[in-house]
Amino acid sequence: MRIGWLRQVRYLPICFLLFCFPPSTGAADLAAGDPLRGQSLFAGATPLAQGGAPCLACHGIAGRGMGMAGSASFGPDLTTIFDDYGAEGIAAMLDDLAFPSMEPIYATRPLTVEEQADMGAYLAKTAGEAQLPAGNRMAGHVAIGLAVITALLVMFGRGRLHGVRRPLVLGLGTGQGERR
């Protein structure tokens, strides 16, 4: 749990931003959004109206139907973001997206009000679901890869020539071997 608490530190800049720029009154009503459409927007199946990149390009989420891409880890995982900030905070963020790495993308391509509502609804739905252990899955793949490479090396290595003289001297070869 201590780790979980540490994770929240990531959101400190967000809190700071929220403090500086309180949410505008034009924020969308999350309750009116369609979580299914939100998921589609999140994954990029439905393009954002203004041409912004879909969230999944950087953010992972534990929501179902994302396949391997669900563990995208360029930005923080957004599964529990709703729990952390609540409806009001999420609405403000979706409206502005004033984070240093996101601003260049979304300043000129903001989410429409409808999109904000759908996205917010989707995030609300995924909240509470378990976060994907991204690292473990990677370790599993590495282990499998290593095992396959080792197996191949052993397979090819068995067929190679392993010294001719030494077996003769040790008496393991075809001849008489060393007489002691």
Binding site: R160, L161, V164, R165, L168, G175, E178
Partner: protein, 495 residues
């Protein structure tokens, strides 16, 4: 007919005393460098013995040379696909232990050791790690049958003999050996050339010397595996493979190769042969026992006017045809037929021929008997060195080839004995000549070529006509000014 010229050689094994002077001459001239300590372009092996690298003749292990695959000839190492599949992992290389770990001695300690009660010693140290080591192998570790229970007993040729013959070879009072000096055979159907994925190995058009282009070699080491004689070596400092160059810079200057020049026993003969390149393919497809005869057949008579005309048409210079007429190799291989290629069954058509050693065969049978000829020829099967063993070395298992050579060599010996000692009757000499299918004049010629020739008759170097080759490419004056300053393109891969 597609006539080409090949500088080839004959080694007369009866004359080899196993002094290794040839190896040292070669080592000092060519392989006295870092990373090539283990390379012996020329080495002298004791037979029976496992040779260098250990058991190089055993292609079940090393997969060198060619094999018949239906109606095609294929590298035993594998086809093109197989070679490509193994290109990053060549599974058929001799290990360092099969050569040996190169070593030197700390000679400095002999004079720098502090005063003490003991004699200072020079410890052997590895030339790879620099640490003291126990020497366990060397390029002629089994010299003079040392360790014969291990090395001679595991000679691949011996292992093919019947248990009785093996026992006969190793019976204490009959123990027998001879020396086998080896250099690159400069084969007509070289497996190293075929195995090279970089196309770096080539056979020189004018003299048939097989060379590795050091600029093109990428160090895949397929030639090391493909050569059944294990006569290409990987240079660990340059990352390129190297092999015997038959001292072509010396040949071009009209001098004998270093190993030929330094040979104490004068066993080495060199001369140019004309051969028909169109018949190489059929010659390599014969059965094992017919390979020697097939190889002899593609060598052409330089006195035949038709051959001369064809040679002229193929662009072979007149001087080279004249050199071919004076070639001692032609006499030994084609005219007298007493020199045989080493392991023709590898199907590379090696162009280095050996006169098999006679001495061990006769020593027991002729002592104190006047019926020497009868005894000898009826007991060839019981000779000290089994004929099967020699047939495995020089005739692809065909004992008749070996017997024919021995009958001729015996006739030479008996006729000369009649002249110098006089204890053999003329009828016995005549009988020996008849069995050997050789005339009295021919015997005298064989005797003279074997025993009484000068270096100019033993080593007939064809004119290399460098002036013509240079003129074709660049101004000879400029060539004279620019050559001899080393490579202007250093090898790119080093480590």
């Amino acid at each position: 007919m597609n006539i080409r010229a090949q500088v080839s050689s004959v080694f007369h094994l009866d004359k080899c005393i196993g002094c290794h002077t040839c190896s040292i001459a070669c080592k000092n001239l060519w392989t006295d460098r870092k990373g090539v300590e283990y390379m012996w372009w020329n080495n002298v092996e004791t037979k029976p013995g496992t040779g260098y690298p250990t058991q190089w003749e055993d292609q079940e292990k090393y997969h060198g040379g060619w094999e018949k695959n239906g109606r095609r000839l294929q590298l035993r190492l594998g086809g093109r696909g197989g070679l490509l599949g193994n290109i990053f992992h060549n599974p058929r290389l001799p290990t360092m232990d099969d050569y040996y770990e190169p070593f030197t001695y700390r000679y400095g300690e002999l004079i720098s050791a502090p005063a003490g009660n003991d004699q200072p010693t020079a410890r052997p140290v590895s030339m790879i790690s620099g640490r003291p080591m126990e020497i366990q192998a060397g390029p002629n570790w089994d010299d003079d049958l040392s360790g014969s229970g291990i090395y001679a007993a595991n000679d691949p040729g011996v292992l093919h003999l019947s248990p009785e013959q093996q026992a006969q070879m190793f019976a204490v009072e009959r123990l027998v050996m001879f020396y086998l000096p080896r250099i690159c055979n400069h084969c007509l159907n070289a497996a190293c050339v075929a195995g090279c994925p970089s196309g770096a190995i080539y056979k020189r058009g004018k003299d048939g010397i097989v060379l590795i282009n050091q600029d093109k070699c990428r160090g895949w080491r397929m030639c090391v595996s493909a050569c059944p004689y294990k006569k290409t070596y990987y240079g660990w400092a340059t990352g390129k493979s190297e092999k015997c160059v038959l001292c072509y810079p010396r040949l071009e200057a009209g001098e004998a190769p270093a190993c030929f020049h330094s040979c104490v026993g004068r066993i080495r003969y060199l001369g140019v042969l004309l051969y028909d390149a169109d018949r190489i393919e059929t010659a390599t497809m014969q059965d094992d026992k017919d390979l020697v005869a097939a190889q002899r057949q593609i060598i052409l008579d330089p006195f035949d006017p038709q051959v001369q005309a064809e040679a002229r048409k193929a662009g072979i210079p007149e001087q080279v045809v004249e050199a071919a007429q004076r070639s001692p190799v032609y006499l030994f291989v084609k005219k007298w037929q007493i020199a045989l290629p080493l392991h023709p069954e590898f199907r590379t058509l090696p162009m280095l021929f050996y006169v098999p050693p006679l001495l061990p065969v006769v020593s027991e049978e002729h002592l104190g008997t006047q019926r020497l000829v009868d005894d000898y020829f009826t007991t060839l099967e019981n000779a000290r060195l089994p004929v099967q063993y020699l047939a495995g070395l020089f005739a692809g298992g065909n004992t008749e080839e070996i017997k024919a050579v021995y009958r001729k060599l015996m006739a030479v010996r008996i006729q000369r004995r009649r002249i110098t000692v006089g204890d053999v009757s003329e009828s016995e000499v005549a009988k020996a000549r008849e069995l050997g299918k050789v005339s009295a004049e021919e015997i005298e010629a064989i005797f003279r070529m074997t025993a009484l020739t000068s270096i100019k008759q033993r080593i007939v170097i064809p004119p290399m006509l460098r002036e013509q080759a240079i003129e074709a490419g660049m101004d000879p004056e400029r060539y004279k000014q620019e050559m001899g300053f080393g490579s202007r393109r250093p090898p790119k891969r080093r480590w």
